[in-house]
């Protein structure tokens, strides 16, 4: 990274958000309808349920240089499909604890629960995560060792 005039320094953050269709996607919508100010770094991908989340989605995003990945679903015991998020939280927690072992900062990944009515909470989650990732700077992915150049992918 080094010099402040390098193009990567000025680059906006790329944060991928995987939101469950029934709660957090609705929650994000509520936040929008209520005109809550939110950071613009988040790219939202709608998934049917956090139970659909393969931890490999997150691993792939971070390996290829996404600066952060946010996963959000229904609160536990509130899942539209009853138990999807109960499976998900085990997988996601294990991934979160495993990432630093491979040299990827655990703070680049966050999972949380936001219901469709919690527009305010959604605003808070996105703002905090965006600041957290911003503090870490751009994610070089795993290629920096050779080229430091993500465009080569």
């Amino acid at each position: 990274m080094g010099k402040t005039d390098s193009p990567t320094e000025k680059r906006a953050l790329t944060i991928i958000g995987f939101l469950c269709n029934w709660c957090s996607y609705g929650g994000a919508d509520t936040a929008g309808v209520c005109r809550f100010k939110q950071p613009t770094d988040l790219r939202v991908i709608r998934v049917p349920c956090t139970g659909r989340m393969d931890p490999l989605f997150i691993a792939r995003a971070l390996i290829l240089g996404a600066d952060g990945v946010l996963v959000s679903g229904c609160h536990p015991r509130d899942c539209h499909y009853a138990v999807g998020n109960l499976y998900a939280r085990r997988r996601l927690e294990i991934l979160k604890r495993m990432l630093p072992f491979m040299g990827i900062h655990a703070d680049r990944f966050h999972y949380t629960w936001v219901s469709a009515s919690e527009g305010q909470r959604w605003q808070q989650v996105v703002t905090e995560f965006s600041e957290q990732v911003g503090g870490l700077g751009p994610n070089p992915g795993v290629t920096s060792f050779h080229t430091g150049n993500r465009e080569e992918l």
Binding site: A59, R60, I63, Y87, E93, I94, M98, V142, F145
Partner: protein, 300 residues
């Protein structure tokens, strides 16, 4: 039945499939019988069940027996179709440690005594301690006695380490800084050829030709030989074994590039142990923790 027989020289054993009792003398057991035979129960070439109520006989070491338990847990193989010959194991020899790579010497013969290995090679005679030439997984072996068996052959063996020493190898990596850890894996995984030998040798990698590392749809991996693809492949392999890996060390043994790939699975096992208090392949009634859930869990 499935067992080991002497291979093309005394250093190597190969799996043998015996269908007739007259061939039984082909079977051998020695510290070169490294291969985990459990994979043959579920992976090509799958050993078919005999006619009628004939069972499949299988020879297992302590570590192999855990793989068999894991396969039974996941209902990939039925307990009642197996007859398990359990063999308490003092450890198997890592051939790469018998002779240092740089010397290029050729091994002529090997003699084993209780705790010594005498290697005769083209540049002379060498005496090594048995404990020094063991595979890494054997040095951290907690279950030298098979955890499941119909008949036990040989004397019980004591574990080499205490349970708190189990994860010393991953702890050494955890002590590095984040940058150093990334650099470590970049250096190690950069050598990966993506030959998938680790996956093919793994007794629990049972997807076979449906493995997402090779399917076109969904297309998880491309043919490019770059670091992200290599990292991704090892994430796939490791995460699909989270809470299932029995640490038989086959992935590491078969790696032609000597990448310590089982470290990733050991780390995941350490996490599952801490988080969900589960150790794979010990209890026939156990359910791998990622195939189930508990509503009562808090804090995650």
């Amino acid at each position: 039945m499935i067992g080991w027989e002497t291979g093309y020289d005394t250093l190597h054993t190969t799996p043998v499939f015996i269908k007739d009792s007259s061939e039984i003398q082909r079977l051998v057991w020695n510290p070169f019988c490294a291969q985990n035979l459990a994979g043959y129960l579920v992976k090509s070439p799958i050993v078919p069940r005999g006619e009628g109520s004939k069972k499949i006989g299988i020879c297992v070491k302590g570590c192999d027996s855990r793989s068999v338990v894991a396969l039974i847990q996941e209902k990939l193989v039925a307990r009642d179709m197996l007859f398990i010959f359990g063999i308490p194991c003092r450890g198997v020899i890592d051939l790469r440690k018998l002779i240092p790579n740089q010397t290029g010497a050729k091994i002529l013969s090997v003699r084993l005594t209780d705790d010594q290995v005498e290697v005769e090679h083209s540049k002379g005679l060498q005496h090594l301690a048995f404990a020094d030439v063991l595979m890494r997984k054997c040095k951290r072996c907690r279950y030298p006695d098979p955890v499941i068996h119909d008949v036990l052959l040989g004397e019980s063996v004591l574990p080499r380490i205490e349970s708190h020493e189990l994860y010393q190898d991953v702890a050494a990596i955890e002590r590095l800084s984040l940058q150093e850890r990334l650099a470590f894996w970049q250096t190690e995984l950069d050598r990966c050829l993506r030959c998938y030998a680790c996956r093919n040798a793994c007794p629990l990698c049972v997807c076979q030709d449906r493995c997402i590392a090779e399917t076109r749809d969904p297309k998880w991996l491309t043919q490019y030989m770059n670091l992200p693809e290599k990292f991704m492949f090892h994430f796939i392999h490791a995460l699909h074994l989270a809470g299932r890996c029995t640490e038989c060390g086959e992935c590491e043994r078969v790696c032609p590039m000597e990448i310590p790939v089982s470290l990733i699975k050991e780390e995941l096992n350490k996490i599952t142990k801490e988080l969900l208090d589960f150790e794979a392949g010990l209890d026939l009634e156990g359910v791998p923790p990622l195939l189930t859930f508990s509503p009562a869990e808090t804090g995650i």
